[in-house]
């Protein structure tokens, strides 16, 4: 019970500190704003241009080509329509599909979507079941090399019943609706004749994409901006056209530049604020910070093939010796919470009662001694059988991860483990860690967890020679659990297994899980109606509006 209490306190502390941030920003001229908000009628909200900036260039509006977060959000929420959306509780709700039903027995099932009949591509053609089937077929076609084909791995085939009805044949599995939250059907009448192998590089994606969503494409200037404008024909039953006239996306790399643009009014939404800048933004009345726990977590991967890291006790000692709360405080400025395992808090199977290992260098030393790692020659570094407890910790050029390395280095030096920090260009690091020989000792990296979690590539014995099994971790029980949960539709039945999985991972520490990320975005005060959560930064973009007095 005590343990549970402690976790609760920690959680509450996190949540209250976050809501304090929100309150502060909301309160500053909350009275003022909300009064005005009341007085502005629905019809006055239409108009204006909002500018969104983030670090990354958008790779394409072509759903077959892109995997990066920004491109996907622009596709799913701005230019195109997905079949379903998630509501705040992450339950499916109708979008392009008006309704759906399931049938079938045993481990086979049929999923039938009934599409809206009032959605048109921006060139006037209606969006029909054929577009959905076309998209499905291309995804299933190996030559397309659709990056996330794994989403539909258990889907078998699709049949168009009538122009607005499509049925999918699939194996029964949990989260079978999840792919349709992110897959945006592409227009068959434009891309139908393109050979699958050339789909990715088709100019459709970057020069003249035609969507069917709330915004239509206006222009794309390479390296400069993407411009979208309101789609006036967006179905009334879905709320009609968006409030904004235009939405502009710009990629800006330099944090100081982004900050300056935000506070001088050139930019309205600054996505992924550098943690160091949140305090500064808070102190300006022109902007507010919106935070939410997102799907990313940071970790250190230990190379389990090396003698030092192959021992779970040693890995546990290393985790105990790293002050992860300090990492959250210093690197993330508090934007995050100490992690327990690969199931982040947003996930329904997250075990709140599992307490993260506390920072405890004393026990860490004891564990290392017990495992035979002792500093016999007095040089400050432990060794065993002539092997010294020193290793190289790598990461890619990324300020947060470089800072993590610096802190970890200092922490581990305290317990007699020597760390050489190394920053390596992303691609060359990628080659080293994915190579079958696993040419690394340890590295700091981050993952983004899926709603439909499948950790087999990370921790399953069957994936030992795979590209992502960097820990070289193998535990038959974990294998069994991971194999079973991906097929269990009943959450109540699966939950104990998920809990057990988290327990085992916590015990074995294949990774040292550092923290679950909290996303901070800055929003200009003139932009109203902005909500952001785990579903995405742009999830409410259709409802964003600007006070007529503040429009540029």
């Amino acid at each position: 019970m005590g343990g549970k209490g402690a976790v609760d306190v920690m959680h509450r502390a996190l949540i209250t500190s976050l809501s304090a941030v929100l309150l502060l920003s909301g309160c500053r001229d909350a009275g003022d704003r909300s009064d005005r908000e009341e007085s502005i009628s629905e019809s006055q909200r239409y108009g204006g241009t909002a500018v969104v900036t983030s670090l990354n260039e958008v790779s394409s509006m072509n759903h077959f080509a892109s995997i990066d977060e920004t491109s996907q959000e622009l596709q799913d929420f701005v230019l195109f329509m997905t079949l379903i959306r998630y509501d705040k509780a992450l339950e499916p709700e109708p979008y392009l599909a008006e309704s759906w039903d399931t049938a079938g027995s045993g481990d086979k099932m049929v999923l039938t979507f009934h599409l809206r009949d009032d959605v048109r591509w921006h060139d006037g053609e209606p969006t029909t079941a054929d577009d959905v089937k076309f998209t499905f077929d291309r995804i299933k076609d190996e030559t397309t090399a659709y990056p996330r084909s794994a989403l539909l791995a258990l889907y078998d085939s699709a049949v168009v019943r009538d122009p607005y009805t499509i049925a999918f044949y699939l194996e029964r599995h949990p989260g079978f609706m999840d792919p349709w939250r992110t897959i945006a059907p592409m227009p068959e009448h434009i891309l139908g004749d393109v050979p699958p192998a050339e789909l990715k590089q088709h100019p459709f994606g970057s020069e003249n994409p035609v969507g069917n969503g709330p915004f239509r494409f206006v222009e794309h200037r390479s390296g400069d901006r993407w411009v979208f404008e309101a789609n006036r024909d967006f179905p009334e039953s879905l709320g009609g056209r968006p409030y904004l006239d235009r939405l502009v996306y710009r990629a800006i790399q330099e944090p100081t530049t982004k900050l300056s643009e935000l506070l001088t009014g050139e930019v309205d939404v600054y996505i992924i604020v550098a943690p160091a800048q949140t305090a500064e933004i808070e102190s300006h009345p022109e902007a507010r910070i919106i935070t939410y726990p997102n799907r990313n977590y940071a970790f250190i991967n230990w190379n389990g093939r090396l003698p030092f890291f192959s021992d779970p006790i040693v890995r546990r000692a290393l985790t105990l010796a790293i002050d992860r709360q300090e990492i959250v405080d210093v690197v993330q400025q508090g934007l995050g919470s100490v992690a327990t395992g690969p199931v982040p808090p947003f996930h329904w199977a997250y075990n709140e009662d599992l307490e993260p290992l506390a920072y405890d260098p004393e026990s860490a030393r004891a564990l290392l001694e017990a495992a035979g790692w002792i500093d016999r020659d007095g040089d400050g570094v432990r060794e065993r059988d002539g092997v010294s407890a020193s290793f190289e910790l790598k990461t890619n050029p990324n300020p947060a991860r470089e800072d993590i390395m610096t802190l970890v280095q200092a922490n581990l030096a305290d317990i007699g483990v020597k760390v050489r920090a190394q920053v390596q260009e992303a691609q060359s690091l990628g080659r080293d860690i994915t190579s079958p020989e696993r040419r690394f000792d340890a590295f700091v990296l981050g993952w983004s967890a899926e709603f439909n979690l499948d950790d087999r590539p990370l921790f399953a014995c069957s994936a030992l020679d795979g590209v992502y099994q960097w820990a070289s971790y193998c535990n038959p029980r974990v294998d069994e659990i991971l194999e079973r949960v991906v097929l269990m539709e009943d959450r109540a039945q699966a939950l104990p297994l998920w809990y057990e999985y988290q327990d085992i991972i916590q015990r074995d520490q294949p990774y040292t899980f550092l923290y679950y990320d909290v996303r901070a975005n800055a929003v200009s005060e003139r932009l109203r109606g902005v909500e952001m959560d785990i579903r995405g930064d742009l999830v409410t973009v259709k409802d964003w509006w600007i006070d007529p007095a503040d429009r540029r």
Binding site: E254, P255, T256, L259, A274, A276, Q277, A279, E280, E326, D329, V330, P397, N398, P399, E402, D403, M405, T406, L407, Q409, A410, A421, Q422, V423, Q424, E425, Q427, S428
Partner: protein, 384 residues
């Protein structure tokens, strides 16, 4: 010449100068060399001050058992010895004024001395070098060690932390001092490599001419018409970044401009009498090139080297900006700036002071380079 002192008076003045030279710089000052005198005096005063005020840390050398403490100690003692030595020496030289023979280098030095900015550059550099060597005595902090981060991070500049503290609460002044070692080492070694390579290739190319020249110069053209940063990034991506790699890559990519300069000079030297004579004597090409030609092109090479040093320090900073230089936690000026970028608005001092350090150093190298150019090139000497 009317008021020139008699032999006796001269002897007398010599003695008093020697007495005055017990205080470094005083002799020079008395003879009217204000700048030189004052700076020698200041230098000695600083060293003595370090010895007095940081005596505890100086004494710690014997217990710390660390190389940089010993280096600092030897610098300190050597610096003091040199200050007195210089003082004595200059006193001697002053009393024999006018009798020194005028070699080519001596003329150049005298010319250089007249250029106050160049001398200033030399002083800047001397101070900088002393400071980096004496770093353990100048600051009580360690560059990479931090304590309670929450309490010490981002403290603004104060008497305790001259340049404030960074995001880990490390003293920026200390890091700038220690970072200077890395930045300067990168600069000097890389320039050494590039100058050697450039001189050799340029001399060979210019001396032999013909096909050799064409091939080598096409290669030089190729490297020069390539945006340097792009080349560097591509090469660094191939290997794991380390200080050695950065040095080697910079050294190997910066030689073409030196090669071009040297080749141009050699082309004109090749037909000169002394080279023709050497050839007539039957000397081998390597001997002619390295014994007779290279010494004559050293002037422009030295100038190019001193300017190149500044350049390399700037390039290293640029690479750090792209996250491709010296890995943490080792400080180089470039990566201290890089670490302060996100905090620029709230903690301006982190990125500003190392930036100023770069500016001052590059200025020093350029002033020296300019001075050298003016003094080594007879055509630019002041007419009087």
């Amino acid at each position: 010449m009317s008021d020139s002192p008699g032999p006796a008076a001269r002897e007398d003045a010599g003695r008093s100068l020697r007495v005055a030279s017990l205080v470094p710089g005083l002799a020079l000052l008395l003879r009217g060399h204000r700048l030189a005198g004052l700076s020698l005096m200041a230098l000695a005063a600083c060293l003595v001050a370090v010895l007095v005020f940081a005596f505890d840390r100086v004494r710690a050398t014997f217990s710390a058992g660390r190389l940089d403490y010993w280096v600092a100690l030897f610098t300190l003692l050597g610096g003091l010895a040199a200050a007195w030595g210089l003082s004595m020496g200059s006193a001697g030289r002053l009393s024999r004024a006018g009798t020194a023979s005028a070699s080519q280098w001596a003329i150049a030095w005298r010319e250089f001395e007249k250029n106050r900015l160049a001398v200033l550059g030399l002083y800047l550099l001397a101070v900088l070098y002393l400071a980096t060597l004496l770093a353990p005595f100048l600051t009580p902090f360690e560059p990479n060690v931090f304590g309670d981060i929450a309490a010490t991070r981002h403290l603004p500049p104060s008497l305790e932390h001259l340049m404030g503290t960074d995001r880990f609460g490390r003293d920026v002044f200390t890091r700038v001092l220690y970072g200077a070692r890395i930045s300067l080492a990168i600069g000097f070694i890389a320039v050494g490599i590039s100058v050697t390579l450039g001189t050799a290739i340029g001399a060979v190319s210019g001396y032999f001419g013909g096909v050799v020249d064409t091939v080598l110069m096409r290669f030089v053209d190729l490297l020069i018409s390539f945006p340097r940063l792009v080349l560097l990034i591509a090469i660094i991506a191939l290997f794991e970044p380390s200080i050695t790699l950065i040095i080697v890559v910079l050294g190997l990519t910066l030689w073409p401009s030196t090669a071009r300069i040297v080749r141009g000079e050699v082309l004109s030297l090749r037909e000169r009498e002394f080279v023709l004579a050497a050839r007539a004597l039957g000397l081998g090409a390597p001997r002619i090139i390295f014994r007779h030609i290279v010494p004559n092109v050293l002037g422009p090479v030295i100038v190019a080297a001193s300017l190149g040093l500044g350049n390399i320090i700037l390039i290293e900073a640029g690479l750090s900006f792209l996250g491709m230089s010296v890995p943490p936690p080792t400080a180089s000026w470039g990566n201290i700036i890089d670490g302060g970028r996100e905090y620029l608005v709230r903690a301006w001092w982190v990125a500003t002071f190392p930036g100023l350090a770069i500016v001052m150093t590059v200025i020093a190298f350029n002033l020296i380079g300019d001075g050298l150019r003016d003094s080594l090139d007879p055509r630019l000497r002041m007419r009087r």
